[in-house]
Symmetry: C2
Subunit: 291 residues, 2 copies
Amino acid sequence: MKELKQITVIGLGLLGGSISLAALRAFPGLKTVGFTHRPSTRRKARQLAVASEVSADLKASVANADIVILATPISAFEEIFSQIGNALPKGCIVTDVGSTKVLPHRWAKKTLPKTVCYVGSHPIAGSEQRGVEVARDDLFDNALCILTATPKTNRLAVQTLKKFWSAIGCSVKLMSPARHDRILANISHLPHITAVSLVNAGNSEDLKHAGKGFIDTTRIASSPVNIWVDVLLTNAGNITKGIDRITAELAKLKKAIKTADGRQIEKLLEAARKKRNELIDYKMKNKEIIS
Amino acid sequence: MKELKQITVIGLGLLGGSISLAALRAFPGLKTVGFTHRPSTRRKARQLAVASEVSADLKASVANADIVILATPISAFEEIFSQIGNALPKGCIVTDVGSTKVLPHRWAKKTLPKTVCYVGSHPIAGSEQRGVEVARDDLFDNALCILTATPKTNRLAVQTLKKFWSAIGCSVKLMSPARHDRILANISHLPHITAVSLVNAGNSEDLKHAGKGFIDTTRIASSPVNIWVDVLLTNAGNITKGIDRITAELAKLKKAIKTADGRQIEKLLEAARKKRNELIDYKMKNKEIIS
């Protein structure tokens, strides 16, 4: 990768702030510019020295960037692409950290100038917390970052971004935006949907007796709402299909319980136990989790 | 409580073994007798000194007990009650650690002699691991233990058990078996059902990309199957009603996503976030969880 001089992060929340901090740690001499439209976030970002420079001017913030990273809710991407388009230097790499990738690719193709290269990024990191004050330079250590590209995506830009995410701690995988969105529906968006449904279906007084099982199972229901509304809206097809599959599994269990069919309940529980244990074994073998 | 001389634990898995170890720690001079029908478990229990005495004779194991605690899968309770009935000393307290309580109360009433006192216990502790080899003397530290009693339950027996569970680390609450089973459906059995459904609805190859969110949300799907088949079968009414409520919540979300109704999605997600955050605040205020 040619020497990286400046990256610009648009949106300084947990993810955006952490990208800037991690990049400052990984690349000595790099300048990071952070844009946010909120004065209070700019103040906090400056106090915490989250970026080399904190900017209130969107176009000026990207004018000298080698890489521009959108870290706002997904619904803002298209408007940001159109606002920064003319200000982007030739050859600039544009990416984002949104949790869905098909629509960002479509918007980038439609809106960004041909002189820049768009690649999708999805670092699978974060937490149910939010805000620049929880940003940290090790958020991406050992995280998976999925890069998304189409047959027309510039391969050099993909390589550059791969090196960037690796340098700040991620292991990187490349796939198509469509495959990304299908996989993420299964591993992230549907668990979110079931956690929300589980909480909403429970009686508040009863829930006061909850133990670790319930607390863990529903942790992600405490995540920032605006980010998740965007995720669900931009991956609607995969998610509604997934809801149908989960509803079918629930119906199977309900029928087996209602008819006191112990063998069928055992079969369904055993299938899940085996599948999850194989997953955990795979993750441990790949050192993605530690026992 | 009159001086406790002997407790007998029937079933030496994670819970049974841990009860014996925790009681040995809490009550100097107490004798604990552990019964298990498996020779290999008896061998391990003796090697690990899990109980003062490890017995292969069910009747003899209870003959001198002040308290008898069933820690087997729920489906074995009725048969054990009928086998130990004649061997129980007068005034003996019989309890169990099953995750449902209506049926154990019914079986006890039907099967145990009038000379003993049955009270239900449900220490909400454990993990997805199993077996006497993972038993530990601090498993119940800060755990909630729900005692269940009917208007006919002997109050002195309730007080004695309350002191017993408190001494080994639990905070104790008393309620009716029906209320227990309704609450546990919400906080434990339904999260289990959704975790299992989520895993079964997912494609194994896609799941390999899972992050912390999926791993946490589905942890309980790795729990021992035989124990859970019993739980689901013995709390069928509450669970099938709960599945209906969850299915209705999933349908609401699906409809909102399908019609791109961002406001409705936001409303549903915000309701869950608020409810869960209130729960976490309540738990932290009560020092049941630590941030």
